[in-house]
């Protein structure tokens, strides 16, 4: 668990002291992904960099797994925290294998163990080890380089990952692919992730919890669905966008609101159907496209397993909206 307690960073400037981060307190549970979201200059990156002490806090406390990070040597601390930056920062003088092996080498692993770990990580990221281990970063595409940046951060299997707009420099198609891949990996790895982003769609997709920052202050800290249903103030509302209901639809799976199937609909062949794992955005699109009020849900074998209705969708949205913040 990561806990920030009244974390503050004040920079002296010509116009007087400016609080880049102002008494931010939040808690991220083990295995959770927390996205720090906000416009540029809102203090999200500074907050992230205080966690691995690249920036020294002015006041406040950070504990990771119950340990105050003040009590740990910063260099030692950073070796236990994976760090991914937007510019990727792969070392151009090192091969892919050497780049992935940077932290393991600092930790004193043998060359053989480092290489085996690099192979393992590349395979996990769907990059052929035989092809990539001995390449240099200038022989990689942007997407490949960013995946190797993630592999490098995971190399020593740190419990915590800090990611500073890790996919910000990628084209939209590549970004989607890597986001999906990261989500799949995260499902098994269960790292505690702090992820800086300025993109609400990315945040909604990646986060278990979203922390919205404005001018150094934490204005709302909530699950994506709650955030979209209940923006704390006008700033958050405008930041998440007027289409926030559509964004919410994407968060809800059909299985959550599915009613048991009706036998008569087994002959639904040829008509529009959804699966329990589809999100409600697809359901809404089909409702509108075919002017329907209900859709059958089919399992992987094509048999009807349930149905979803317009009324249930509306009820689910209302239920979320009724919940606390």
């Amino acid at each position: 668990m990561i806990r920030l307690d009244a974390l503050t960073k004040v920079y002296p400037t010509a116009q007087g002291a400016v609080a880049a981060v102002d008494r931010v307190s939040l808690e991220v549970a083990d295995g959770e992904t927390c996205v720090l979201l906000g416009p540029s200059g809102c203090g999200k990156t500074t907050t992230l960099r205080m966690i691995n002490r690249l920036v020294a806090p002015t006041s406040g406390k950070i504990t990771i797994g119950g340990r105050d990070t003040d009590d740990v040597d910063p260099v030692e601390l950073r070796r236990t925290i994976g760090y991914v930056i937007q510019q990727i920062g792969l070392f151009p003088n090192m091969t892919v294998a050497e780049n992935i092996g940077v932290v393991p080498r600092l930790l004193g692993w043998t060359a053989e163990k480092r290489r085996r770990r690099a192979e393992e990580l590349l395979a996990m990221l769907a990059l052929d080890p035989a092809q990539f281990l001995d390449r240099y970063p200038n022989e990689l595409s942007g997407g490949q380089a960013q995946r190797i940046g993630v592999a490098r951060a995971l190399a020593a299997d740190p419990p915590v990952l800090l990611m500073d707009e890790p996919f910000g420099a990628l084209d939209p198609v590549n970004r989607e692919v890597i986001q999906d891949q990261f989500l799949r990996m995260q499902r098994t790895l269960r790292k505690t992730v702090l992820f800086v982003s300025h993109d609400i769609d990315e945040a909604v997709k990646m986060a278990d919890r979203i922390a919205i920052f404005r001018a150094g202050r934490l204005v709302q800290f909530a699950a994506p669905d709650t955030l979209l249903a209940h923006p704390a103030d006008d700033f958050v509302a405008s930041f998440v966008g007027t289409d926030r209901t559509l964004k919410r639809l994407r968060l809800i799976r059909v299985r959550e609101i599915m009613l048991p199937g009706v036998a008569g609909e087994a002959r639904a062949a040829g008509r529009a159907t959804v699966t329990p794992d589809d999100d409600l955005r697809r359901v809404a699109a089909l409702f509108l496209e075919h002017d329907l009020d209900a859709l059958p849900c089919v399992g992987p074998d094509g048999s009807v397993v349930g149905r979803v209705t317009r009324a249930d969708v509306a009820a689910r949205l209302a239920a979320g909206a009724g919940a606390e913040s």
């Binding site: 950073r78 920062g89 003088n93 090192m94 240099y136």
Partner: protein, 247 residues
């Protein structure tokens, strides 16, 4: 990628050089100058050794000191002084080497020592400058990433900053060594010995054979040294940051 691992430079320059060398050799032989030169064989061997001592000592000390000073100037703690120092270095570089040698002679008298010190200074300056600029040109986000992953200052310097600056540092060393070998003959003027003895005496006596007996080994030495450092640059700079290796 480069399948053979060999330099991918065109063979043209070496062919042209080879042709010129052959033509010159034939010219020397035909005009009888070759025979003249060979009369100085013993002197050549002796003076080449002396010359190599001048170049070797001043050059190697300059590389060690220049890289060291360049690294030192690039440290954050030196940021306040670095730019000013580099300005001064640039100014000092523009003083002709002959002037530096004359200055050394007035300070240290005549002989090999002032010659070596003069050559050392002339060689030192471009190395300091390139080391400093090379390290400063390493992108900040690389240092940030290195720091964020838990590298200490020493590891950041040796595993990130120096390897990424190495190509530029080597370029400085090559330039500096070319200056060093090229000006070493002038050391004779302040009593430093070396191949300049044959060149300048040959000029004074209008003995072309004698002059060439000094000039040709000087030229060959300069080419050899540049080749040596060129190869070192090619092989020692990691492939990922070596524009010569077309990686």
């Amino acid at each position: 990628m480069n399948a053979t691992g060999a330099p991918r430079r065109s063979a043209m320059p070496s062919l042209v050089l080879g042709a010129i060398a052959l033509a010159v050799a034939w010219g020397l032989y035909a005009s009888g100058l070759a025979a003249d030169m060979l009369r100085y064989q013993k002197d050549i061997v002796y003076l080449v050794k002396q010359h190599l001592v001048l170049v070797g000592i001043s050059g190697s000390l300059a590389i060690v000191c220049g890289v060291g000073l360049g690294v030192w100037l690039s440290r954050p703690s030196m940021a306040r002084w670095a730019e000013g120092t580099i300005q001064a270095v640039n100014m000092a570089t523009s003083v002709p080497t002959l002037g530096k040698l004359a200055l050394m002679m007035s300070l240290l008298g005549i002989g090999a020592l002032p010659a070596i010190v003069g050559l050392w200074i002339a060689t030192l300056l471009p190395i300091i400058r390139n080391t400093y600029e090379g390290i400063r040109a390493v992108p900040g986000h690389l240092v940030d990433a290195a720091q964020g992953m838990g590298m200490g200052p020493g590891a950041i310097l040796t595993r990130v900053e120096l390897p990424n600056a190495l190509f530029v540092i080597f370029a400085g060393v090559r330039t500096a060594m070319a200056v060093n070998v090229g000006t070493a003959p002038i050391a004779f003027l302040i009593g430093g010995g070396g191949l300049g003895e044959l060149i300048f005496t040959g000029i004074d006596l209008q003995e072309h054979g004698m002059m060439l007996a000094g000039a040709i080994p000087t030229a060959l030495l300069a080419i050899a040294v540049d080749f040596l450092f060129g190869q070192a640059q090619y092989w020692l700079v990691p492939r990922g940051v070596n524009p010569q290796r077309n990686s």
